[in-house]
Amino acid sequence: MSTLSDPPAESFQLSQLLNDTRYRSYTFQFIALILLILAMAWLGYNLAQNLAAAGLNISYEFLGEPAGYDINQRLIEYDSQSTHWRAAIVGVLNTLLVAVLGCFMATVIGVVVGVLRLSKNWLVSKIMAIYVEIFRNVPVLIWILIIMAVFVAILPQPRDFRGDDPAASMVLDLFAFTGRGFYLPRPYFTVEWASGGTGWLVVLAVLVGSFFGARALAKWATATQEATGQRPTTWYFTLGIWFVPLAFVLLVMGLAWDIPALKGFNFQGGIFMRNSLIALTFALAIYTAAFIAENVRAGILAISKGQTEAAASLGLRPNRIMNLVILPQALRVIIPPLISQYLNLTKNSSLAIAVGYMDLTGTLGGITLNQTGRAIEAVLLLMLFYLTISLSISFIMNIYNNSVKLKER
C-alpha cells in the first residue's frame, strides 16, 4: 500500500531527546562524552596544580642522565655511568629473556603434564592432577619466593667447590650449579672477523637459510607424493640441510667454548645466570605450566572419538591420524588460551622485583623511579611497554584465529 500524501511533518520536541529511542542514544553519548571530558579536565587540572606545588614538571630528560646504579644480570653492555634509558633497555631485554625462557619451559612442562594427566596410568594421572591443582591454587608470588629460597638453600655456594675434597663439584667439568646462579660454557668465535656480533649474525642467516631449504624440500616431497603416490624419504636430507651448513660455518669461524672455572672465591668466565633469573623463570614456568596443562587436556578431550575412528577406518596409521586429524583440530582449541597464558606469564614476570631480578619493573619502575622521583613518567613508560607487548601479541593471535577458523558456509 502506498501513501498518497506526504507523511505529516514531524515536529521535534525537546522531550524526544530523552524519550525517543532514535535520539536518546545521542543524548546518552553526548552526556558520556561531556562527563569523560570533565573528568579528564579535572584530573589534568589537579595534576597541574600538584606539579606546580611540588615544583615539578613532566619531562623525560631524566632518561638521558647517568643512572648511577649497577645491574647484575644484563644482556648488553651497561655500567653505572650509562643513562637511565640504557638501564630501561637492559630491563626490557631482561623481561623478554625471562618471558621467552619461561614460555618455552612452560610449554614443554605443560604439554607433558597435560598428556600424562590423560594417561591410563592411574598413579601418574593422579600425581599430575595434584600438581595442577596445587600450582594453580597458590599465588605465583609465593611460588617465586619459595623457589628462590629453595635455590639458595639447596644448591652449594661457590666456596663449596674449593679445596682438595670439595663438598660440590662441577657437572662434567662444564656446568656449575651454585646457589648464586648457574655457570654455563659460553661459545665464542676465534676467527677475527667473526668475534664481534658478526659471527652470530652469520649463524642466524645460515639457520634462516636452512629453514627455507627444509621447507622447499618438504614442498618437493609433497609434490612428488601427489604426482606418484609415493612420498620420498627425506628425513636425512632435512637433517643434513639443518646441520651441515651450520657445522661448516661454525668450523670456519673457529667456534670455541669459554668454560667457567673457579678463581678465588667465585667462578670466572662462561655464561652466568643469576639465581634470581633461574628461580623466576622456573617458578613462572611451573606455575603457568599448570594452566597450560589444563588447556592441553581440554583441547585433546574436545576432539570427539569419532574423528579417530573415522580416520582409522580410512586406513590411516596411528601417527598419521595424530598428525593429520587430531592435532590440527586440537591445536585450534589449544592455541588461543595458550597464547593468553604466554601473555600472563609475561605480565607476571614483573614480579621479578620480589626476588631482585632487574627486569623493566626493577630498573625503570624501581630504582630509576626512586632515584629521580619521576613517578608519572616512569610508570607511564612501564605501562606503555607492557601494553605494546600485549596488544601486539593479541593482534597476532587474532590473525592466527582467523586463519584457522572453521570455514563455514
Partner: protein, 429 residues
C-alpha cells in the same frame, strides 16, 4: 547304537567358576591401571620412587617438628642436627600472620567475628536453594557491619551509609516510572545528599556506640588478603557487568570508552596499577586530599578485575542466541528490562566458571600488595618475620603455612563453581 557312540553330551550345567585371579579384584585393577605395558610400568615405578622421596623427606620434618620454642636457634639446639620443622614460628607469630603486626591484640575478636559472619552473609548467595531468602537482608547489611567491626569508630558511619542507600532506592522507585536513567540520577542525588548531611551528624557524635578505631595501616596479614579479595570481587562484578554491556552497546562513543578501558587494563600487569595507586594517584587528586593506601589499592584492584570480568561476561553475552534478544524486543521490553529479565540471568549463568576463575585469580593477586610494602600475609613473612633475628631462615614452615592458607580457599571456590555449574545446568545433554 546310541550307547556305542563316543559322543558325550553333558546333561547338567557346571557350577560357575570364579574368574582367574589375574582378571579380578585388586590384581586386575593394578595390572590395568598401573602396569598395562612396559612404558607405563616404568612410569609407575618412577612415580612410586618420586612419592617415596617426598614422603621420606617430609615425614621426619613433620613428625620431629618443634612447636614450643621462641627462636630458630633454640629449635636447632633441641633438634641437635636431626631433621625437623621449626613450627614454633607459627605458634609464636600466628597472630601476626593472620592479623598483621599492629592490629591491637584485644580487638582480634572483631575481624574474627566479621569473618564468621561472612559465611552467614554469603550463604544465601552461594546456596540460594537451601537457605531461606530472609537471610538476604542480613547479606545486605553485612558490608556495613563488617566495616564497623574491622575499622571501628562510631556506628553512625555505617548507619548513615545504609540510610543513603535506602533513600536512594526510595527515590529510584518514585522516579523509575518516568525513565530508568532519570531514576538512577534521582537515586544518586538523594543518596549523596543523605551522606553529606549524615557526615555532619556522625562527625559531631563520634563517640556514639563506638568501637575503638583501628587505622587502615594497622590492618595486615592474611586478613588484608581476605578483605581485598572479598571487597574487590564484590565491587568489580557490577562494574564488570556495566563495562561488558557498554562494550556490546550500539552507541559508538560509549563502546569506544569501554573498549579502551578494558584493553588498557588487561594489557598492563597488576603491579604497575599498584604503582599507580602507591605513587601516581596522589598527583591526580585535588591538592591536600589524602585517602589511605588500602582504599587506593582497592580502587585499582577493582578496576583491574572489572576489566577481566567484563571480558568474561561479554563472552556470555555473545554466546546467547540472537533469538533471546529479539524475543525480549518483541515482548516490548525496554533495554533495561530486557537486560535485567531476559539477557543477564542467562549470560551470567554461562559466565559463572569464567567469573570464578577471575575471582580466584584476583584473590591470589592480592599478595602483590606486598610489593608496594603493605604487610599482607606474604609481606608479613618477607618483612617482619624473616627479617627478625629470632626467625631468620625459617622458610619451609612459613611458606607452607602460606600455601595452607591459600590453597583450600582457592580450591574450594573452584570446586564450588563446578558444583554450581551442575546445579544450574538446565539443558539435557
Amino acid at each position: 547304537m546310541a550307547d556305542k557312540s563316543i559322543a558325550f553330551v553333558r546333561t547338567e550345567m557346571l557350577p560357575q567358576q570364579a574368574p582367574p585371579a589375574s582378571q579380578s579384584g585388586v590384581i586386575k585393577w593394578v595390572r590395568e591401571n598401573l602396569f598395562p605395558d612396559v612404558l607405563n610400568s616404568i612410569l609407575t615405578l618412577v612415580a612410586l620412587y618420586f612419592i617415596y622421596k617426598i614422603v621420606a623427606g617430609a615425614w621426619p620434618w613433620l613428625s620431629n617438628g618443634i612447636w614450643t620454642t621462641s627462636s630458630l636457634a633454640e629449635c636447632r639446639e633441641i633438634l641437635d642436627g636431626a631433621t625437623g620443622g621449626c613450627f614454633s614460628v607459627l605458634t609464636e607469630r600466628w597472630n601476626q600472620l593472620l592479623f598483621g603486626f599492629t592490629y591491637p591484640t584485644e580487638e582480634y575478636w572483631r575481624p574474627t567475628l566479621a569473618f564468621v559472619l561472612l559465611f552467614v552473609a554469603a550463604a544465601p548467595l552461594l546456596f540460594a536453594m537451601y537457605v531461606p531468602r530472609q537471610v538476604l537482608y542480613f547479606t545486605a547489611l553485612y558490608p556495613f557491619l563488617a566495616y564497623w567491626l574491622i575499622w571501628g569508630g562510631t556506628i553512625l558511619i555505617p548507619i548513615v551509609a545504609i540510610a543513603g542507600f535506602v533513600v536512594g532506592y526510595l527515590a529510584f522507585t518514585r522516579v523509575e516510572r518516568q525513565s530508568f536513567a532519570m531514576g538512577l540520577l534521582a537515586a544518586v542525588v538523594a543518596a549523596a545528599l543523605t551522606w553529606w548531611i549524615g557526615g555532619f551528624v556522625s562527625g559531631a557524635l563520634s563517640g556514639f556506640v563506638a568501637l575503638p578505631e583501628v587505622p587502615s595501616r594497622d590492618i595486615g596479614g592474611f586478613m588484608l588478603n581476605f578483605i581485598l579479595g572479598v571487597v574487590c570481587v564484590s565491587l568489580s562484578l557490577p562494574l564488570g557487568i556495566v563495562l561488558a554491556l557498554g562494550r556490546q552497546s550500539d552507541m559508538p562513543i560509549i563502546r569506544i570508552i569501554c573498549v579502551v578501558f578494558i584493553e588498557f587494563i588487561r594489557g598492563v600487569p597488576l603491579i604497575t596499577l599498584l604503582f599507580v595507586a602507591n605513587v601516581v594517584l596522589a598527583y591526580f587528586l585535588p591538592p591536600g586530599t589524602n585517602f589511605d593506601l588500602i582504599l587506593r589499592v582497592i580502587i585499582m584492584i577493582t578496576l583491574f578485575s572489572a576489566a577481566y570480568i567484563a571480558e568474561v561476561i561479554r563472552g556470555g553475552l555473545a554466546a546467547l542466541p540472537r533469538g533471546q534478544y529479539e524475543a525480549a524486543d518483541s515482548l516490548g521490553l525496554d533495554y533495561a528490562q530486557s537486560m535485567r529479565l531476559i539477557i543477564m540471568p542467562q549470560a551470567l549463568k554461562i559466565s559463572i566458571p569464567g567469573i570464578v576463575n577471575v575471582a580466584v585469580g584476583l584473590f591470589k593477586d592480592t599478595t602483590l600488595v606486598s610489593v608496594i610494602s603493605m604487610f599482607d600475609l606474604v609481606g608479613m613473612i618477607r618483612g617482619p618475620i624473616l627479617a627478625s633475628t629470632e626467625w631468620n631462615g625459617v622458610y619451609w614452615e612459613l611458606w607452607g603455612f602460606a600455601i595452607l592458607m591459600f590453597f583450600p580457599i582457592c580450591y574450594g571456590i573452584s570446586q564450588y563453581s563446578q558444583w554450581l555449574e551442575r546445579q544450574l545446568a538446565t539443558d539435557h545433554r
